[in-house]
Symmetry: C2
Subunit: 391 residues, 2 copies
């Protein structure tokens, strides 16, 4: 998007991209930043104001003695539907394009009901939420959905999702668009959480790796401001990396996977083997919070195992930050301590000197924020804005 | 580089970027591809022809019954100096911008002589080579240099290079530009080899990981057509990833690093411990080629160790291809077999289904081709071309 000194190629979309940081700017500032003439800036701002992407501020700031109007991104002009679906629970929300949550609801919503029943409920709740905001359905510019399984990037359809019976190949975007009347973008839940955390951390924090430790373990990678998906869209699957000294069988068919020693399901199984009742990751966390020593030791050791895997990835990828999220990781400092302990002892000093390893900033809102970010990137892409204003 | 339907923002540089694939195209084809009007295409082509970036072909192809001139990228109009420096040897070359090697020389050139003596010889050899091509120094549009150590991306200066005494912080670009009169770009040798292999494989092969197994072990990562450098420029350092079941001391100060069990220097040490004379990686390779069983077993096992590390990285990064280069890897099929054996048994089927694991295509030319690619990307960047033609 870098412009020549003559502003060639700087359309209204590029102007809006500058304003998206939230700072209001004068015509003169925008002319300087883009190389466009003031008259062209004015013309492009008119188009953006016309479409309500930009508001002319009431404020004026002094510029060479003359008061000059300022212009700002109007994040509140449009709304986004966001749905973050887990195996049994979902978080649904309406946000604006500045990522303010206008309404939200957590709901019990098992995906094993199949796609139509689940998505029907999703659409109903989202419509209810919109009504509470007083916004008009025409203001909804897109729908972002995170699903707990692999999603084909081009089509937005689930691909052999292990815990979503009936969803394989289901046309989620088309189905939901038919119900909600806005374009629908779908991705894997861990990917959208990574996007959400990257948005919260700010664009300078890059590359970012988000690791979710819940029932299973997965990660999402943001590099150069975009999701790194890999050649087959399979990138980030750290849960099935082999760890040292374990032959624990894994649900993937291999043995010794990280998930099989450090995932919430495996810890619950280990507790049961020790005669302690625990059905899943939430019970493990509850036991640890209640001071159960076996659970606490298990969680700490899980942190070390995750750290051992991430230490290799730090050497390879040199991230700026590793964000830990999910039930187990958010339960307290035991996981974080274990991860840090191992990474700092094993990775290269150059790669860890400025590396931040920290808990999720957004917690269980990471998914809905990420889903809204995904929609915003699509709707506010400079070429999309240029097309809209030219049309 | 996507254009709006009206060709807004498509400058001469964007037109040249389309032609860089080597295919000649008519004005009509270029107008269709860019959305520009034919008259604008003609005007931009005139500028490109004027600067000799484009040639009008003699050929004509039928288009609606009328013969139409074709236009092609003129890769031969400029030359690039390329220098790939190893610890003791260097490869120096003159290439054109279509990556044709016009002249090259391998030279003994120990970097431990220090920067000024070494770079003096580099400049002399490059000037000699240029003279043999009959090209004029004014045609040299840039110099690409690979160094056997870490290089700060912004400045092109070595940063604490372990095997390059006297080079720390030395202003390599400024020094060489003073001697050769063209802009100089410097990067780590493994990074430029990765760029070279990515060029040879073609843009569709992405992401690509190039692993160099020589005295030490390192890797270069190309993703989205660009080098992935990481937050501190330390990405790709796979040689110091901890491997299972080893406590072998490593020159980095840690123990059990991949390089300490699978690098050429460590294998030579293992051979010496078994009473077999071997000074370095080249001797290991020579022994293996001569049928020495101990050397052959060591190399095969080294392949397995590299494979174990790369198996984790395949799950995390989902590359399209892993290219193996360097003395040891290029010595035969033992390394390749070991790497494949381990990756296919440990990584996820989705990530390995289409994964290619193969030997370097360019061999010891990967560095000079990559250095020339680095210069070409810089010189032919659309914004650089736009500026040149506007000026």
């Amino acid at each position: 998007m870098a412009s020549g000194a003559n502003g060639q190629g700087v359309g209204a979309g590029a102007l809006l991209a500058i304003l998206r940081d939230g700072r209001a700017r004068t015509r003169g500032e925008l002319a300087r930043l883009t190389g466009l003439s003031r008259s062209t800036v004015t013309q492009r701002l008119d188009g953006l104001i016309d479409q309500r992407w930009v508001v002319a501020g009431e404020d004026s700031i002094s510029s060479g003695g003359r008061p000059a109007g300022v212009f700002a991104f109007n994040g509140g002009a449009r709304a986004v539907f966001a749905a973050d679906l887990g195996a049994t629970h979902a978080r649904l929300a309406v946000l604006d394009l500045s990522m303010n949550v206008l309404a939200e609801r957590a709901a019990e919503l098992p995906v094993e009901q199949g796609p139509e029943r689940t998505l029907c409920q999703v659409a109903d709740v989202l419509s209810d939420l919109l009504a509470t905001t007083g916004l008009d359905p025409a203001q909804v510019c897109g729908v972002g959905v995170g699903l707990p399984g692999p999603v084909e990037h081009g089509s937005g359809r689930p691909v052999n999702p292990p815990i979503m019976p009936g969803w394989d190949g289901f046309a989620v975007p088309e189905w939901l668009q038919g119900r909600l009347g806005a374009p629908v973008l779908v991705d894997n839940d861990v990917n959208i959480m990574a996007l959400g955390e990257h948005w919260a951390a700010g664009p300078a924090v890059d590359p970012l790796i988000y690791v979710k430790i819940g029932t299973g373990i997965g990660s999402g990678i943001v590099s150069g401001g975009r999701l790194h998906r890999g050649a087959q869209g399979a990138a980030g699957d750290v849960g099935h990396i082999r760890v040292t000294g374990s032959l624990a069988p894994c649900r993937c068919g291999n043995a010794g996977c990280l998930e099989a020693v450090a995932g919430g399901a495996s810890m619950a199984a280990a507790l049961r083997a020790a005669g302690i009742e625990a059905a899943g990751s939430r019970d493990v966390v509850a036991l640890m919070r209640a001071g159960d020593l076996t659970a606490t030791r298990l969680v700490r050791q899980a942190g070390r195992e995750v750290g051992a895997v991430m230490a290799s990835i730090v050497n390879f990828f040199n991230p700026s930050v590793i964000v830990l999220g999910g039930d187990v990781a958010e339960a307290g400092e035991q996981v974080l301590a274990g991860v840090r302990e191992t990474i700092y002892s094993r990775s290269l000093p150059l790669a860890t000197q400025h590396l931040a390893i920290r808990a999720s900033e957004l917690g269980d809102r990471a998914g809905i924020v990420g889903a809204a970010v995904m929609v915003a990137e699509h709707v506010l892409a400079p070429s999309a804005i240029d097309r809209q204003i030219a049309g």
